[in-house]
Symmetry: C2
Subunit: 338 residues, 2 copies
């Protein structure tokens, strides 16, 4: 990646207080999404955990990504803001950044692989961002982004591997822990690791144990923790398109230090969790968004014997609704990265 | 109808204060459902009304019906409660009453037409109620219910045509008006009229104008208002299965007195409203639940020139998710009554 990130970086190492500070800067910009409960889903678990679902699928732009995008923008100087922001993404980060930029009335430039899903492209365009398409490879994305940045002077807002993105993402768990005090555990999905690292920071010192949830078909984070070093690429085969990317450089050590374990789940477990969320909770959750609930339902998690209340982050709800419900059709899962 | 309702009836005529009193009795039993907003849906309207959606699809049992059922139970004496409750319903009221009875640990007997949808039957059974099936006609329902009541001594809790059902239903609008102060208008769907009459009572004196929303294919309420007397039966042809029933005897005069107008919508308008709610708001709303939003989007409503904030009651979210999204298939709409 040759594009340079913007200069406003917080003090490292990251801490819970940095998440609290980030929250105070974006509280008027983001939705305080509701924390939902379901007695039937809670009672269905062997450990009868009372479940608290943080519904980030109801966040602006339909995913938690809007938090990191909003916070990243709030750290830019007026001069930087004037030139606008740019990123590369095939998924929710692109839409989130475009929406955050629209909210501030600044330009946004998005590099998208030319095989991106049409609804994601439509969303980015509807938010008024300029799209540059490129070949669906990491080098093509980096080169195209560098060219866009050279032309526009826009600040690069990375999808997950950046301190401000992590801190912004962590504000979801911060709200969850405030609205549902006394959680025994918090579970977040892990793709690039922005949400999981942010969640771990937010939970630091609260007494809540922190777990990641990952598709077995994209288990680079679990494997990295097992071997003690980050796995740099992943041959992702999962319907959970938001979690196909390898964990980021900044994200991995935070997860290594503060997350107790990453629980992997099968594609079938993801579909079943997703169906239950739609059917019982009446909310539209995308496959990646259902992975943390799938993990909590799994025998692996239930075998831990945690009997207290558990917080679950439903990370997003952007699905193509012109197609039949995804659990009714066999999973065909092209590989791609965020 | 030979079955007699239970004796605990509030003082007539019904007033806003009765809804406030009802709310205080059920506040610990029901979910205070969130009030959701969507800037993209608000901005899409010609009058740019800021929309406040009361998400009763997130209510326990998946519909506002749980409010009326809970309040009706809270008005019974200990002796009455011991014998249990009964009702006839093919829809959300059956599940709501079964769940409210389960919550109190009392027996519940439900008479269902033998052509009821399987998911509704499953829900009632899962909540532990005893189901008696009957032929899908009004006389068969009444006779079967009378037999159940004679055998069990259970109190009949009507689906909509009862003061306590109306007052319980009105608590949804009461919460909406408290959480979104200063509404210019509130819009609720009308089938039997429990929700609309309750909404009108809750809004009384608040300054919010009250409108009903009805499928054009089951427009008995709109026709009744036009001719000045209740239409007693309706040849309902609409996908909105919760709104196929004629307005109740108690409900109609309240609506006549306090509701400004009932706006009718086409099947296409219902499907489009439903799709937008799933896609933009990430919530699962059933056809009946989308009718109020369809009305607000309609040229008829927009022509009124109301430019202030509008509250919309999303009444329920119980759909059969084993089938493709309903807007992707042609509407085939069997007729039935609640």
């Amino acid at each position: 990646m040759t594009a340079s990130t913007f200069p406003s970086t917080p003090t490292l190492p990251l801490a819970r207080s940095s998440v609290v500070a980030a929250h105070s800067k974006i509280v008027s910009l983001v939705h305080r999404t509701p924390v939902l409960t379901s007695s039937s889903l809670s009672e269905s678990l062997p450990c009868k955990n009372t479940l608290y679902f943080k519904a980030e699928n109801l966040q602006k732009g339909g995913a938690f990504k809007f938090r990191g995008a909003s916070y990243s923008l709030s750290c830019l100087t007026p001069e930087e803001l004037e030139k606008g922001v740019c990123t590369h993404s095939s998924g929710n980060h692109a839409g989130a950044l475009a929406l955050a930029a629209k909210q501030r009335g600044i330009p946004c430039y998005v590099v998208m692989p030319d095989d991106s899903a049409q609804p994601k492209i439509d969303a980015v365009r509807a938010y008024g961002a300029e799209i540059t398409f490129c070949a669906p490879t990491a080098p093509a994305r980096a080169a195209t982004l560098a060219a866009v940045q050279a032309r526009t002077g826009a600040a690069f807002v990375p999808p997950y591997d950046a301190a401000n993105t992590i801190l912004g993402a962590g504000t979801a768990a911060l709200e969850l822990l405030a609205d549902a005090p006394g959680l025994a555990a918090v579970v977040a999905p892990v793709g690039g690791g922005g949400l999981l690292a942010g969640t771990a920071l937010a939970a630091d010192g609260t007494g809540a144990r922190v777990f990641g949830a990952e598709p077995a078909g994209a288990d680079d984070c679990a494997r990295g923790l097992a071997r003690g070093s980050r796995v740099e690429d992943v041959d992702a085969r999962t319907v959970a398109d938001g979690l196909r990317t390898p964990v980021g450089v900044l994200n991995f050590p935070v997860i290594q230090e503060k997350v107790e374990a990453v629980v992997t789940v099968s594609e079938e477990e993801i579909f079943e969790a997703m169906r239950l969320l739609w059917e019982r909770m009446k909310i539209v959750v995308e496959p990646s968004g259902a992975v943390a609930f799938a993990a909590v339902r799994s025998p692996k998690f239930q075998a831990l014997g945690i009997t207290g209340p558990v917080g679950i982050i439903l990370s997003g709800g952007n699905v193509d609704l012109s197609k039949p419900p995804p659990w009714t059709v066999p999973a065909t899962t092209p590989t791609s990265t965020e």
